[in-house]
Amino acid sequence: MISRLKDRVAPAVTRRRLLAGVGALALAGVLSGCNVTFGATKGVTTQAHEEFRLWYGMAIAGIAVAVFVWLLIFWSIFRYRRRDDHIPKQTQEHVPLEITYTVIPILMVIVIFVFTVIVENFVDSNPTPSGAVVNVTAYQWGWIFQYAHANGVTVRTAEKAGPTLLPRSYFAKRYPTLTLPVGETSRIYLRSADVVHGFYVHSFNFDRYAQPGVTNVFSFTPTTTGWFPAQCTQYCGLYHSEMLFNVHIVTDAQYTTWLKNAELHPQSLTGATSQPTRPGPQ
């Protein structure tokens, strides 16, 4: 069987396959070398980095599979277009082939499942916090960040004269800021005061529902300082698109100073910043 196969496959073809393999590897290398992210963000926490790596692998695998199948489709529709009125051979099945394309996907699924579980366990592990511990409460339509160990330092969305008067412009409203120290693991306890909200920090590659009756616990270990935009993603009613906040990652020293100051002047914290929402990392 094998020898027959070898006879049929001309050396040129083998060489071409080899080249294609090397090419694919090289392409992968180049891609990772020049910061190709397929649109995703690498993130600014260790958890986000892991997710990004998983994304990267799966994006490459997914694109490879998609391109492979697309090529098969395009090949067959161009190559086998009707040219004359003949009736082709009525092939109905090819059992070994069918088994092959059942088994290979199963193997691929097992591989991605293993990687998924590894990353998932890392992201969901809750190491002992060395940084802040924050009780986050989502409500219609804003956020309350209460620092657990810091005499009730609380940052919240500035309430204007009630939701009905909210103008439809971003800068008339002041969005609260969640301040976290860089390099330390901070833990969040997430709750909701009314409906389901989504605590989503894009640069953390992370979304978790805030639900009534449920407390979700998770941790972040930021790696970069800067301002990061964040927003409620789970539709929560009329002003869902206004439910923004910022995340400010600062150095340890800055964090300590900020916390001290906040304990002394709690008033200053309500809607503490009018920082525009999209400045990105510093």
Binding site: H94, Y101, I112
Partner: protein, 585 residues
């Protein structure tokens, strides 16, 4: 290439029951009901499409003011609800399947014709009730098509609109259940002699499995809606924390319905595409049995993956649901390779249905791949509720319901009306749709990866999302043109009909063995069934795949007689256990 089958009997002048409007209201003929369903579903598709145009226009610029926040919320809720509950499902199982399944199995009608009519009326009135929500003072429902508790409670979304949404879904839910029962009974009991289960056309197989899936999924939705109504009106607190209820329960119930639902919306279209690919490649379906088992496994698995929509709730078993969701990729992959196997070495001709079918393959593939990405909890954490998800589900839903569904519509339109649709107009419509589709939805992947949440009516100019949104909106306008061209095509086929003939595509299955449109009770003559392609075997006896000694076109005998109307007493001699709906009086 057009091969007309001779009829052994001339068509008598059919004068059956009332005509005109009364015919549409009182008919129990599956063909009339199927047409009513198809037309109604198409109207809902157009309405929902117009809502989508409004939304896309609103999103074309940051801080846009075309619609109010409240209206935007109503729009996406009703767009999603109309598309899923009133278009994609009913178009498939109420419209095309209703019309085609009895024909494909050589049956005179659906098993329960009056129940079938009742299904249609429940659906039609349900749909009317749902959209009339817009006429109430508080506006239509605005809690998204999933209506998560407790946002859907009486305090958070008061008003008649949401209640009408609930009632509408209960009605259409029953309509779907009745149709499911009807399809299963029809396929089980009304097949032509020799048409064993493993000779059913794939479309019929898929409809059978869809029917079972409907029976699994819809009762759960109906039950959940009743609970929701009780919470809203008689203070039962099933979904509210205040009264000791559990809000997450809603999500469990809803998605136990919701995920099978998306396969209820996909499997019928898979079936259509399978048949179409085979016909236009002049080959049998490659890997027939694999196809059937893949359909069944997809259906089975799809009922054990519901919580992949709830990864970010932090309350579900991540690895279980993730693995089950991944596993769906395996039968779907089998289907893809079988489709390619069907094309392979075929003799492919690109009539409009084939173009849409291949469009489906190309589009759905990418939607499937991004689905695998979303089935990974860590990656779902990164993309959940962003435009990545919006792009993903449009790719699969639009891919199946619109590309697949229009393939089916173009394919069977000649059968249903006796008229051809214009091929060049159809192709133009396809190309607008294909290009428009990618323009609309691929930028949404990037938007999602750039962090744009779904269901937002406005975004900041600083967000950097403007350009991609503009591209997406312009693509949506191309889609609008594509649907418009299609409507023109329908109109032309009425103004200047081109007669279709019985079998314009040289097709394989029984529905093409009768006239277009078929007579009352469908058949005067049925070719002998010796494989899953009876008509092909009959028309191309030298190219069959039958491995028996029996010649394919054996003697043409008179087929079973079907009696209708008053006073018929079924005779149990030849069909041992079948009894008509009101057989035992």
């Amino acid at each position: 290439m057009t091969i007309a089958v001779e009829r052994t009997l001339p068509i008598p002048a059919e004068e059956h029951g009332p005509t005109g409007l009364l015919k549409w209201i009182t008919s129990t003929d599956h063909k009339v009901i199927g047409k009513s369903y198809t037309i109604t579903a198409f109207v809902f598709f157009c309405l929902a499409g117009l809502m989508a145009m409004l939304m896309r226009t609103q999103l074309a610029s940051p801080d846009n003011n075309i619609v109010s926040l409240h209206l935007y919320n109503e729009l996406f809720t009703m767009h999603g609800s109309l598309m899923l509950y009133l278009f994609a499902g009913p178009f498939a199982f109420g419209g095309l399947a209703n019309y085609i399944v009895p024909l494909q199995i050589g049956a005179p009608d659906m098993a329960f014709p009056r129940l079938n009519a009742l299904s249609y009326w429940l659906y039609a009135f349900g749909g009317l009730i749902m959209i009339s929500g817009f006429l109430t003072t508080g506006g239509a429902a605005d809690f998204g098509w999933v209506s998560y508790a407790p946002l859907s409670s009486a305090t958070n979304t008061p008003g008649a609109g949401p209640d009408m949404w609930i009632v509408a879904l209960v009605l259409t839910g029953f309509s779907a259940i009745f149709t499911g029962v009807n399809i299963c009974a029809t396929v089980f009991y009304l097949r032509a002699p020799g048409l064993t289960m493993f000779r059913l056309p794939i479309f019929t197989w898929n409809m059978l499995v869809t029917g079972i899936l409907i029976l699994i999924a819809f009762p759960v939705l109906t039950a959940a809606l009743v609970m929701l109504w009780c919470d809203r009106h008689i203070g039962s607190h099933i979904f509210s924390v205040a009264g000791g209820g559990v809000p997450v329960l809603w999500q469990n119930l809803f998605w136990f319905f919701g995920h099978p639902e998306v396969y209820i919306l996909a499997l019928p279209y898979f079936g259509m595409v399978t048949d179409i690919l085979a016909v236009f490649s002049r080959k049998p379906v490659f890997g027939y049995r694999g196809m059937v088992f893949a359909t069944m496994s997809i259906a089975a698995l799809s009922t054990s993956v519901w919580a992949h929509h709830m990864f970010t709730t932090g309350t579900v078993l991540l690895p279980f649901f993730s693995l089950m969701s991944y596993l769906i990729a395996v039968p779907t992959g089998i289907k893809f390779f079988n489709w390619i196997g069907t094309l392979w070495r075929g003799s492919i001709v690109f009539e409009t249905p084939m173009l849409f079918a291949v469009g489906f393959l190309i589009v759905f593939l990418f939607g499937g791949v991004t689905g695998i990405i979303l089935a990974s909890p860590p990656l779902d954490f990164a993309t959940h509720d962003t435009y990545f998800v919006v792009a993903h589900f449009h790719e699969v839903l639009f891919g199946s319901a619109v590309f697949g569904g229009f393939a089916g519509l173009y394919y069977w339109y000649p059968k249903m009306t006796g008229r051809m649709l214009r091929n060049d107009l159809g192709k133009a419509s396809f190309w607008f749709m294909f290009v428009g589709f990618w323009l609309t939805f691929v930028p949404q992947y990037w938007l999602g990866l750039a962090g744009m949440p779904r269901r937002i009516a406005e975004y900041s100019p600083l967000s950097g999302w403007t350009l991609l949104n503009r591209i997406s909106t312009s693509g949506a306008y191309l889609l609008f043109i594509a649907v418009f061209l299609m409507l023109v095509n329908f109109l032309l086929s009425f103004l200047k009909p081109v007669p279709a003939g019985d079998n314009p595509w040289d097709a394989h299955t029984l529905e093409w063995a009768t006239s277009s449109p078929p007579p009352h009770h469908n058949f005067y003559w049925i070719p002998p069934v010796r494989s899953e392609r009876p008509l092909w075997d009959h028309n191309h006896p030298e190219h069959t795949t039958i491995h028996s000694h029996m010649p394919a076109n054996s003697v043409r005998a008179a087929t079973s007689t079907v009696h209708s109307g008053p006073g018929v007493h079924p005779d149990h001699g030849s069909r041992s256990d079948f009894r008509g709906e009101d057989g035992d009086e």
